[in-house]
Symmetry: C2
Amino acid sequence: MYRSLLLVLAFSSIAVSESIIKTLPGFEGDLPFKLETGYVGVGKSDDIQLFYYFIESERNPSLDPLMLWLTGGPGCSAFSGLVYEIGPLIFDYANRSGDIPALLSNPYSWTKVASIIFLDSPVGSGFSYAQSSEGYRTSDSLAAAHGYDFLKKWLIDHPEFLRNRLYIAGDSYSGLFVPIIAQKISDGNEAGQEPHMNLNGYLLGNALVDENIDFNSRVPFAHRMTFLSDKLYKKTEASCNGKYLKADPSNGQCTENLKVVNKCMEKINLPHVLEPKCGRPLSWKPNALKWESIPLEENFSDFLLSPIRQLPEPTCRLYKFLFSYIWANDRRVQKALGIREGTIPEWVRCNNSLAYTHDVFSTVAYIQKLHEKGYGGLIYSGDHDMLVPHMGTQEWINSLNLSISKDWEPWFVDGQVAGFSIEYSNSKRGMTFATVKGGGHTAPEYKPKECLAMIYRWLAYYPL
Amino acid sequence: MYRSLLLVLAFSSIAVSESIIKTLPGFEGDLPFKLETGYVGVGKSDDIQLFYYFIESERNPSLDPLMLWLTGGPGCSAFSGLVYEIGPLIFDYANRSGDIPALLSNPYSWTKVASIIFLDSPVGSGFSYAQSSEGYRTSDSLAAAHGYDFLKKWLIDHPEFLRNRLYIAGDSYSGLFVPIIAQKISDGNEAGQEPHMNLNGYLLGNALVDENIDFNSRVPFAHRMTFLSDKLYKKTEASCNGKYLKADPSNGQCTENLKVVNKCMEKINLPHVLEPKCGRPLSWKPNALKWESIPLEENFSDFLLSPIRQLPEPTCRLYKFLFSYIWANDRRVQKALGIREGTIPEWVRCNNSLAYTHDVFSTVAYIQKLHEKGYGGLIYSGDHDMLVPHMGTQEWINSLNLSISKDWEPWFVDGQVAGFSIEYSNSKRGMTFATVKGGGHTAPEYKPKECLAMIYRWLAYYPL
């Protein structure tokens, strides 16, 4: 208490603006949880204003862990993770009677067991913005640095959470930030920097952790899913020597085989291979094997500008995403959230036009170091995702040569196999890898009940 | 015409009873298709009375192909194939107001493109019965012989269908009858037996064709589906030398590994690995790797006898199956179908207690011969079935060393990848193998629209 007080005094010049939100347009009555939103300035003279949603644990905020959640992209808003994945609100898709999308409580919110900061990061995502065009220029390493700075300042501003166990978490592209932020915290703690953060571990869901390994694994994954025949896969593997990414163009046999492989994979819906691919995904590029081609999510800008807003087919998952565009761009919503007027032209779920430099290609070494230092890791994979397939994740985990403390076995929810898990030991805390059976790229979006059970058990140190 | 007439005269002593059904309890109004039901006597002095449902093509019965459809088990009623897979009727699960399950039209019925005989075979299945206890003793080879006799007699009785293209078809366990019946027809035609049948080919869906190959493939399939880790799979493969069925009990390493493998697989729902396993499947035995353990479907006898009929959970697929028990055991239904009174004690979807000898273990050689003779084959696999996985099917197809005429590529329905197909050539007609993406053991039950498109195109000689 004394120490926290000191910290507040020491950093009292930090510019943090925040407000407690009691109600939200679209949600009937008072919010049944404590929501705070705000901005934290990071970067040179707080040029960059990172927006966050903080939701206290609905169980016991003083004892429950604190989680920083980053959504992928890069450029996807934290609100997407909140409303489509693990937060306490979900849209009421059946009800479209009001003049704003209706919101309901999510019974499988991870805020049932943890307090969560949903951070719009990097700058340019969601409601985060920069006060100069220079500030908008960002990269993997800058995004990680800003995430760390954000957390430091946020904790100074919220010293009552300094003693809670802290987890850095995220999915998809944030696999390139999460381990770096965790490492920075660990280093900062060791260097005696204030505030000391009670880092306990990290979480990664279908995370991009090693570009080469993860993208390369799409080809063997497609084979496992029967999208490639045994013969085609074997000859492609042989001719390309198992390297499908940036394949040598002078290797004619490999190039030729990859063309056929691409033909088999290109019309598959990557985030969940059994779901239909939605019509006209404007920003999706055809070549599924190149880096540039990671589908950067839907592009609804055309839709929002069009005078007649024709909804995509309700059978299509993009339809669900549309609700967030309408909701988050409503003036009443932005007022309620405390969004500063004129700071962003339009809220998009995923911003495809960041001024972004991709400069981190693997965070495997960070994860290894975190493991050695005794930080716990939960790494989970929806097993029907072809964007970042579980096979790549398992491959980089295997490359760490960790010793197994609990070997591969099923984990259960309601007596059903929810997936499979394996645990790797450490003198302090180990690493758990878990598949989510039938899950897609963002596993909690597809298997909410199973994923809440998973996170509840893991945070409580129970086996899955 | 003259020839047909002659045949009718020649075989006029054949005992076939049949009736045309205009209405059915549970279906509002007249049936929008022509349904005939009846019995055909086979075996010694027609001791065995095989019951069938014949539905004329809803398009052009005089030109459209004729299909004999056998449902698996052994012992599953043809009505199961009719109402849950490819027939023109489906239960109205949402509506339970009447005193009998309501029936609706199935927009994806295969009778849109073919006339289909749904045969209750072998004896003891559905409404088929024997007039002596001796007659009930049957086997794979007897079932095939009776199926052939049935068809001969049925065609003599329906000479107007003698010129239609004829296909022998079925799924699951009927993979052990279908190729034999087709072979008998081919042999009969060559031997000049009457009636000459216009056999064109055969269809097999997730069919048991080679017991060793098909069941063995469950282990590599489980690996591909991420139910086994790479390490566990590799060491099991090595220690068991790739033979998981009837593994040598003196091979301790293999036995030990298979125990772990079993632990990973035993709680998975075999007919569709992503669906939940229903509660208390009374007749399902635990060991998924032994022959005796093929889940012989649900056992609702207890349910039917119980004074309080408590329905299984609606989320469970067994719930759907229950409708057929109530419907087919209703006296009004049996009267409408022309069921002979007192012939069977109770209709069950799948009869687990046949007096049955399993005496055919592979029909691969039959299929090879049919291919050589130029009969077309459509072999399809729902790719999420672990009862008879697509990998086993592909393995025995590969063992035939056929030449490929159209290599592996996706096939589409509504612009979506519906699965992948490959064609093998022959001077006359080839063999097509197709996966049904996301389909389970009975693919049309899971992917009706895609499967109708598949059968429509294949019967029309179009590429899938």
